[in-house]
Symmetry: C2
Subunit: 175 residues, 2 copies
DNA sequence: ACCTGAACACCGTTCAAGT
DNA sequence: ACCTGAACACCGTTCAAGT
């Protein structure tokens, strides 16, 4: 499991194969199938580790501040592991992995049905955003995108804050 | 190219291999590399076809109505091809494929810098949303998610409208 | 200009058999 | 309970050679 995260960091998701992981552990590929039903459930475990790093923020009572902190925490967690957003997005989409992330956002949003629905919107924006940023960083890294990594992060941070602010403002108007 | 779309429809993205596509055309796999540099650029061409199906909506002058129509048109285009959202998301992220989609959204939003930035947010939400919905539909199709396809679409349509409304409302407050 | 044939270096998953 | 060994049915990409 720690080896899986390390391998993700070193080689990226496309190269995180069952064979390679087995090799890094020093075991036969087939041995992994004793511990995980298939590759997908192994990745779900990896996804839980990644979002687990987003600490539960101390609630300040200021809703906008709490939501913004939670959103930034999640974005940072996703971006701090290579291909983290993609791993979490596909896990989330398949209904695998824990629901702690959605719960945390819904709570910061104040709880209740409207908050749960807003949390879904926010989560989808964050995952879509982070996936795009991350693949773009990857492309930049081997020269396939005409910006360096720092520029990509700088440019997109503004987009991210704008997105979070819009969703919060919209919640007040429509909710 | 049409064969690639047909294959995507029939077998899905994971099974859309260069070998399988070549077989369906009746040609050797290596022949494809005369027409496309690699699999990624082939997929970029597929992505352009998918979003190309989202017709330019007739501008009514009502900004919210135009944006909503454009957003729904894009969502429908993504969802109407199997794995369409994933194909377009990764193409977009790599800076491959055309920028017509972003342009269309920015225009519906009124043009200018603020509109371009809002279009980015909206596009990321739509792609994140559609990816999630689509993978969930796929999961439902082979019983790995406890809802049927119709329920998934119904449930998430409400989330989608809510997201678009929030972003529009937010734009008025922050822009 | 466009395609074949053959090769290179890989995949995920299954399953009998071993300890 | 946990792992090996061997197999099955695949991948993307390259490149000399053919027409």
């Amino acid at each position: 499991m720690d080896t899986a995260i390390r391998l993700l960091e070193e080689t990226g998701l496309p190269d995180l194969s069952m064979r390679r992981l087995a090799g890094a552990i020093g075991v036969q590929p087939s041995a992994l199938y004793w511990h995980f039903e298939n590759k997908q459930s192994l990745l779900a475990a990896v996804a839980d580790r990644i979002v687990g790093a987003a600490e539960a923020a101390p609630a300040t009572g200021d809703r906008d501040a709490d939501v913004t902190a939670a959103a930034i925490g999640l974005r940072d967690a996703l971006l701090s592991h290579r291909d983290g957003a993609e791993v979490v997005l596909s896990t989330q989409a398949l209904g695998l992995g824990s629901e702690a992330t959605h719960r945390r956002l819904a709570q910061a949003l104040g709880g209740g049905d409207a908050a749960a629905s807003a949390a879904t919107v926010l989560l989808q924006f964050i995952l879509g955003h982070a996936s795009l940023v991350q693949q773009r960083i990857q492309a930049a890294r081997f020269g396939a995108y005409p910006q360096d990594e720092a520029d990509v992060v700088a440019t997109t941070s503004a987009d991210f804050s704008a997105g979070v602010r819009m969703i919060l403002a919209g919640l007040d108007v429509t909710g």
